[in-house]
Point group: D2
């Protein structure tokens, strides 16, 4: 670790939570330099939905490399890109009746958000954007303006502007529909909230603390957008690609975003890649007006295509996610009820689940204990008070259970009490189902 | 090509200049779906200094993949990252007596610039940044504010602020030292130019039209920075990694930047990666205050390490670059003199050379003809009036000459005249040397 | 009127509502070029609390002019300014136990707001300011950023920033304490609302539609400010100088603003003048750092002093205001009840009263009829839906009643019905009391 | 003075330079509480071109007050305003063939600038404005962004944006035409200088240090504006109303500004008033979109009209200004040559003259000595290195000479040497002519 302490900037973060040198990884397991294995409930913050070094994708990737397939292509036409486009259209868009043009911005999530915000502003000729409390959209300056967390915002060194924050679903307490408030300020010509070009929203806020918006709220949000001629951008960077149980996190909600951002797991292999999807009539870009050196990362296009072919041509994968969601959710409810000392509450959708802890310090103690016990898991939320469960979607059921067992052990370690479980895992799982 | 026209956003750019589907690439050659080969004088806009699919790096990369080496690691510690850091310190920094901390921002150049600007503003507690006419630093909002080109700026959809543009070396004509103007406005308490946190500069402006700053000007610029307690940021994203003949573009200039950004060719294989180097006393980052999903792209760390080991442990590579610079420069001088109709002038340093054309339309005709003739080369500059030569640094001499021959043919095609060359290439090359 | 149509910019406003040329004015009466008299329920938008050409002040003003007393003094020391300061301290500040330093910015309300915002930002080293829905603080760029109305905001031609709008008291419906929402976003480190330097608030929003904040809300607002180390600025430009019944609009509320802005009626005679009051420990201004040619308008200082001496040395004036408030309020309640067709509601405090009309078009018809009938009165609110009653505080009771009778007539004219009043005014007034 | 020290904010400025309490004033003389008289070479920073309490205007003003003429009229039509408009059109605009619409913004210079910048941005749909080094346009936020001085800028507490500063005439040394640089950055699509809505310029920079632009430079500036479809705004707030020898400072230059701001001496009596003149086709204001409580200051309209009638119906006043310019200039040249120790240089046009001092501290010593000797005069320029002579235009010749004699005495006091003058004033004046 010395080399990191000596040479790497103080900005380094995860290395402080997980202070060991990782060497290898496969599926849901990480291995360090001493050969110790860790179950990964972090998944590259949602990037490794298909696991580390997914063997199906790896095989294709190596073959492509060996054949000298084009690696770096700027935004020139390439076979790998054509194949990805064809596959994405055929497997993802068409079955959903979604007509979108596709932009390849620089290969990071924040770059996709920057492009989406530019496009929305250009289309509408307005500068304001509505974002939400606890939102996270990235830390380059344009995205950062739409990100709520003070830690990131204060690092800008300049004032952030052209974004208005509104309360997310539930922010003002149960029973308060915060889209009604949004509607009111957009209707009121003296609210001080300038008519925005777009609303940008996550259907579940991952970094913000696994905050779920209800489907009704999201539909109401879309209705407000339509009423005021405002674009709806869904940032599906962390919640897309199956994380919530469907390819897009909004597949079953009944909304039709004008612009969609994808990144993280889209390449399938942890390779940098991102996409902006826009309804065709919004594609007012001038050629080359948003560029970036790595927007033609063909290795990522290849694995992205293969991941789609492998996992999204039928419903089987979604069903397996639903099964594992059930396991996760049941287990967390079990923990909540078994350890009332923790003052836990459970939230989440699909395979992003959160265990909120009333005392943030306890959340930190639990995740630290988890690392000691062989589980990689992090906290989220404005006070780091929500433990976030993001296992690979492809995790084997026995690994998932093993991880959850480690987690339970870590809870009791942190609480300084004995585990309550008396029976075996199977019994509980049976109950859970 | 139909799939691109139907599905890809209008923002696509290079595909319009080079309308063919590329499939494979190796070294300095690109191959399209019909098996046609193209000499590559674009090199991924400076990303492929070591050529496409460099076989030395490819071998290591495939072995790493096969061994399930960690691919995606956020900013956790990994063996590949440790190896890169150790190599970069030993081979690059130490021999130059450069003490810097290293930040891994998101893996794109623009993300490195965003991080550099944040850091400078934070260190100095000031918001203004000095950039220069014709500068290009990226298109995410923070970087875009420091980028001069209207095409990019106007796409922002909002006003860009907190950056003041000053004339680059030569902008006010020969004999005018524009650093004296900068010194004057920073000294004058009523100039309206707020004291900046930093100056950000490219030693050669690539996108801006292959504009070279003189070494004296760069030293004077550093002196102005020191006088006014302003940080000096060198954006070496396109000009670093050997492009100008040395690893850093400022190796022989006698300046000591406070912050350095690297990207493009740093990974060696065209894989997304970027770095921010900062003097240790400037490393005031809060842990995690600038993050990004793909800042731990271990495949890139691996190839970056291997590229450094292969090319930068001794002077041999630099010597070969100097030889090829000589060929390029001589040939361009020959073209300038042989075809006065073109009203050409030559500029550049190392293996970034520019042929400025008085009539921008002619520049476009020449590069279009070049594509037809089997050469990938682009224009740059505010009016697309400078043809930019960026072959891979590893290009074989015979390929380089072949490319230059194609270029000459394209000049005459565009001018509608016959080539003047009477002898064979060797004679000219001899003369050139 | 021709000269105005030919030469004056289209920006002219009130001239369109009241299309006649005024020549003379006295107390609550305006006279036009034809000798027609109008009762003034506008009072220079709150500037003429002591009436037009108040004879007591006029006498002093003429004597001062005749004696060649200093008229224009920049911010040099003058006798008139010293006298004003002495009087303001003795009569206004000391009896209220208010310790404040006094700044004379440029002589307009917006300039006072600009100065207040600068000072708050400088004291706290923060850029954000909290303002409220429907707020009006002026239209120079700094103040405009804190003003809610789109008509004014869109005229800026640039984005307005560094201000966050929060819902004013009652904005989210009865029963919702909007200061709790403010407290929540300031407590939440991920709300996206940057910790502000200050909150700026009107105790009653005049331009915003005669929206009253409850005393409890204002006290809660102050408590939120204290909790988060945020300054409280009360903009008392329209509501100060007796308009709500006391000299400061917050005299009886139990809050202690850090900064107070005054203008409009402070000079007493309609002469341009404004003040910024700040707690002594906040007076961190550099000498001359906020200047303005007309900040030493000594004629205004003279009349300001005389107005204070005349009206604020004892409680008599306040009692007369309370009596007239009673008449106004009773009458408006009578109108509301007598003409249910109008769907009126009544609001206001002291001698700023509002008659809200469900249908904004009707409000406009009524004020237009009023002008025809000899009454100057305007609408306010985001939809011009609230008729605003701002008679001079010194209006004679019989004039007040006469104006209200004209108003009632105008209501019936606009509704196209007959007045319901059967008895005489006195009966109603008796009932009202 | 105690009351000021105790109660007035630290922002007070001139009171520190001239620490005495003024009571009366007439023409070019100020009188303090002890009956001491001071010659006024400051003139309210250019507000008192017609002297303190001009008796002709005073008489009209008192008569108007006595007749209960409308004092405060918002922007309703009034007889005083109509009369002013008619007079301004007939005496000022028509003889110059100037067709302009007239806006009455809030009655301060900075408010006029705010309105001018808004209008320009709205007309052109662009946000950027070009201003110049050492410019002063006011300190409300919009104007402040176009003001160069750090003392004012840093008081904003937030970043200032949407203005680009260019070098004023002479800033880059004699022989460098800085309009060519402006033309270049506006022509160059990669200069980083966004196409502005307007250029705002003072023909002589008063606060900036009495910097004169040459007529040729101003014409070239206008040509650059026309070439690039950019509006030309002349801020004539300090230099208009006769200060440079003609009513508008550009009367003899051959330029036709699109927008003109006037304030300071426009009312003639030191009363707050300002104007924005705009070419008719630019009058795109929405009714009421830029408002302000005191934009209908009818006392000022009255004295403004009378001042125009008195001084601008024929050339006599201009001739008297020219004579006094001659006296001032000759005397300053005499001082420069007689006291080479002072390293003085002379600059200025009309009755705004500057004596630049190589050592700023000496300039401060001289003006301090002048105050002790009975002369009110201030320094200007970014280092307070230029002594600015702004006597009332109506100053009697003998008072002007008396003031200049005091000034010479103050120079020798500050230098600690004996005056060189051997003869009497008349001889020198004869030589001067």
């Amino acid at each position: 670790m010395q080399i990191f302490n000596r040479l790497e900037s103080e900005v380094r973060g995860y290395i402080r939570s997980f202070p060991t040198v990782f060497t290898k990884a496969s599926g849901a397991l990480l291995t360090n330099e001493h050969g110790d294995q860790y179950v990964d409930f972090l998944s590259g913050a949602g990037t490794l939905n298909y696991g580390h070094n997914n063997p199906l994708l790896k095989k294709k990737l190596i073959a492509y490399l060996e054949s000298d397939g084009l690696t770096h292509g700027l935004d020139m036409a390439s076979q790998a890109k054509a194949d990805f486009l064809e596959t994405f259209e055929r497997v993802i868009l068409k079955p959903r009746n979604m007509a979108y043009k596709i932009q390849f911005p620089g290969p990071t999530g924040t770059n996709a958000v920057e492009a989406a915000l530019k496009l929305a502003r250009k289309v509408k000729g307005r500068s304001n954007i509505i974002s939400f409390t606890n939102a996270f959209h990235g830390v380059s300056l344009g995205s950062l303006s739409a990100t709520g967390n003070t830690k990131f915002r204060s690092a800008a060194g300049i004032g952030l502007s052209n974004v208005t924050f509104m309360p997310y679903d539930g922010y003002l307490g149960q029973g308060v529909d915060t889209t009604a408030y949004l509607d009111k300020v957009l209707t009121d010509q003296s609210s001080g909230v300038d008519l925005p070009a777009a609303v940008i929203v996550e259907t579940v806020q991952g970094e913000g603390g696994v905050n779920e918006a209800s489907f009704a709220w999201l539909r109401a949000l879309e209705a407000v957008c339509r009423k005021h001629d405002v674009l709806l951008i869904v940032d599906d960077i962390q919640m897309g690609c199956g994380r919530t149980g469907t390819f897009f996190s909004f597949d079953n909600i009944g909304i039709s975003p004008d612009i969609i951002t994808l990144s993280k797991s889209i390449s399938g292999y942890g390779l940098p890649m991102s996409l902006v999807l826009m309804k065709p009539e919004l594609d007012v870009w001038e050629p080359g007006a948003h560029n970036g050196t790595f927007r033609g990362h063909n290795l990522a296009f290849l694995t992205a295509k293969e991941a789609i072919l492998e996992y999204w041509q039928d419903d089987a994968f979604q069903h397996r996610i639903a099964e594992k969601e059930n396991i996760m959710h049941s287990w967390l409810e079990f923990i909540k009820e078994s350890y009332p000392e923790g003052k836990f509450s459970v939230r989440g959708r699909g395979m992003v689940q959160g265990l909120a802890v009333e005392n943030p310090a306890l959340a930190g103690k639990i995740t630290a204990a988890a690392f000691d016990n062989g589980l990689i898991i992090e906290t989220s939320g404005s006070q780091d008070q929500v433990i976030k469960f993001l296992p690979p979607l492809v995790i084997e059921e026995r690994q998932l259970v093993a991880g959850l067992e480690i987690f339970e052990q870590s809870v009791t370690d942190a609480l300084g009490i004995a585990p309550v479980r008396s029976g075996d895992v199977k019994i509980r799982m049976g109950a859970a189902r």
